[in-house]
């Protein structure tokens, strides 16, 4: 399973699962990262935190948290 932390910049994906810790999961949900949400990686330098865009907002995640969000590649976009 791929994690959000492994994705290069500009890649798109769909959130598959969140960390089990409820406190962290709640904060991710509140910032839009629910299973099924489409995510675009804006910054990922291979070290340190990353920035993603989800539900129209930009969210920074510590690498530790990003590593525990699993993702699947984005389904083919409907429009061209």
């Amino acid at each position: 399973m791929t994690s959000l932390a492994q994705l290069p910049p500009h890649s798109r994906c769909v959130v598959a699962s969140l960390p089990r810790a409820r406190g962290i999961a709640d904060r991710l949900i509140a910032l839009g990262l629910t299973p099924g949400s489409e995510v675009c990686v804006l910054q990922n330098w291979g070290r340190g935190p990353i920035i993603v865009e989800v539900h129209g907002a930009r969210v920074a995640l510590g690498r530790g948290q990003a590593a525990r969000v699993t993702v699947e590649p984005e389904p083919q976009p409907a429009e061209g």
């Binding site: 999961a25 709640d26 949900i29 340190g48 129209g56 907002a57 530790g64 948290q65």
Partner: protein, 674 residues
Amino acid sequence: MDRSAERTPEVVLALAGQPNVGKSTVFNALTGLDQHVGNWPGKTVEKMTGHFEHRGLRCELVDLPCTYSLTSGSEEERIARDYLIEEPPDVVIVLVNAATLERNLYLVAELLMLPVPLVVGLNMVDVAEAHGTRVETHVLEAALGVPVVELIARRGRGLRELVEAAVDLAQHPETFSPNRPVVRDNHRPLLTELEALLEGRSPEGYPPDWAALKLLEGDGDVAQEVKKSAPDAWDDVHEVLVAHDDAYLDIAGGRYDWIARMVRAAVVRPRRGVTVITDRIDKVAAHPFWGLVTLLAALAAMFGLTYAIGGPAADALSGVVSGSFSEFLRDLLAGAPGWLSGVIVDGVVAGVGTVLSVVPILIVFFAALGLLEDVGYITRTAYVMDRYMHWLGLHGKSCMPLLIGFGCNVPGVMGTRIIEERKTRILTMLLTPFVPCTGRLAVLVFLAPAFFGAMAPWALLALVGGNIAVMGLVGFGANKLIFKGGRSAFIMEMPLYHAPNLKTIGLYVWRNTWAFIKKAGTLIVIISAIVWALSTYPGSDPGESVLGILGRALEPAGALMGLGDWRLIVALLSSFVAKENSVATLGILFGAGSAGHAGAAAAGLATKVAAAMTPAGAAAFLVVQMTFLPCVATLAAIRQESRSWRWTGASVGLTLVVAFVLGVIVYQVGSLLQ
């Protein structure tokens, strides 16, 4: 001015919104200076209330804490929802940012489950358009079934219409017919089952459908309430919940499904692949290397401004206080007993001088901090610094307060307000006094040449570097021991950049500075007067005073650090009022006259002091001076911000222990090496 007692409000409105929707701008624009800052009952979170008139109606506006959702995860979320359930306002105005509409509607989805009418303020439509996003207000309004008012709060646009809509709804609540979100099909039977179990036994004020939904989301607070209100049904309820403990993911997902339906026709998004202005700025400001450069430049500008404006203003103010004003008071009190004139002129006025000398610096820092926060930059500093703050048990947001601490610890401590989590805030507050401020650096620069000769610059560097290393170690240790590890997660929204609002920044500066003068200022004046008395009585010179006696009593402990001379200990103790005081006290005790006036006298003093110590003792003295006790202003700020004497005391204890241990190590190891 607080005129809340004048007339009871005819309309009570609450202002809700997620962070970064311009809530404080709207609150300030509507209420101006007619604001009252208090505390939510029994909480450490500030409660802001304001008043204004609309068509002859007196309106009260309650500013709810900024929250992303209404689960019971944080104190703020609990406050917001308890308020809405226990003392429902007439109408809730919920603000959303047009640029981040979908995510912001999550809170709207939660609010719609509570029995309070809503008006949505669609703010920052200009920022959204600059980023290529357009929202069709009337389409959104039709979809939600909730009044939606377009705003550019920063320029005051749409505010009158917003209040108009809210007051209208308050007067005709029966017209409110929203399109409420529903849970996904697979969980609907469960919800019905729970609702049936709660029938007639829902906790007071909790709508049964809302309580059932919150139970299914695994909300601990609601579960506790239900256990009390429906004890006989609890076993059945509990069984359902255990069997579906991951339902919360589906419920949250269901809210975003609802949001997607609401915005489908209403929002035009930028085409994929278009780089918006915020991403272009972030290529530099949030870059691992250029981001650090940007941060350093911002800090340099901040400190530059402080020295250019804050410093001279502070000197002028404290000059007037300690000069002509003191003289005036002394003349005025000429007929009064000596002790009274002493307490007032040398104790109280000196304390007021301390407060005033900090205020201009605070104003400049708060203005800079408010500006950086308002345009959206502070979050980028947190992002860039997060990897370095990692091992201190802190996250990126702690970096700005600590960096500001280099200028003065007081705004550093007050700057911890930008950190939401209390645990991280407290840890940052405890670490701030280990950041060498300019007051301590001044003492260092004054004494180091006499102590170390040509080696002085290296000693300076080692001491400052050592301080930062100590801060790191203390942070690491405190996180492990006091806070049991578990660094708080770094999950943070990065708002779009936008132009600042001067009114928001101005009121931010005003509120913070005034809070410092009122609360911390009083404490500083009282402690200064006490310290003056301790250093003056019972004998006439400091050597015969309580402080002198204390210094002598501490000589055995001091000897372990090579500070067997009580005069050195008294000098350190006197730096409690202000770090730079230790030089003045040394001047009095070593009889070198007023220090700092003539270069020769000053150099003479430093040499005399150096002669009283071995080099190892001198090093220990400076190490202790750099780490021991926050100054009274910092301590007062810690008390004000933590609202806890326990943590204030912890800061005193922590710095004392660290200073003593370091002093002993430096002296003992240094003596061996000599």
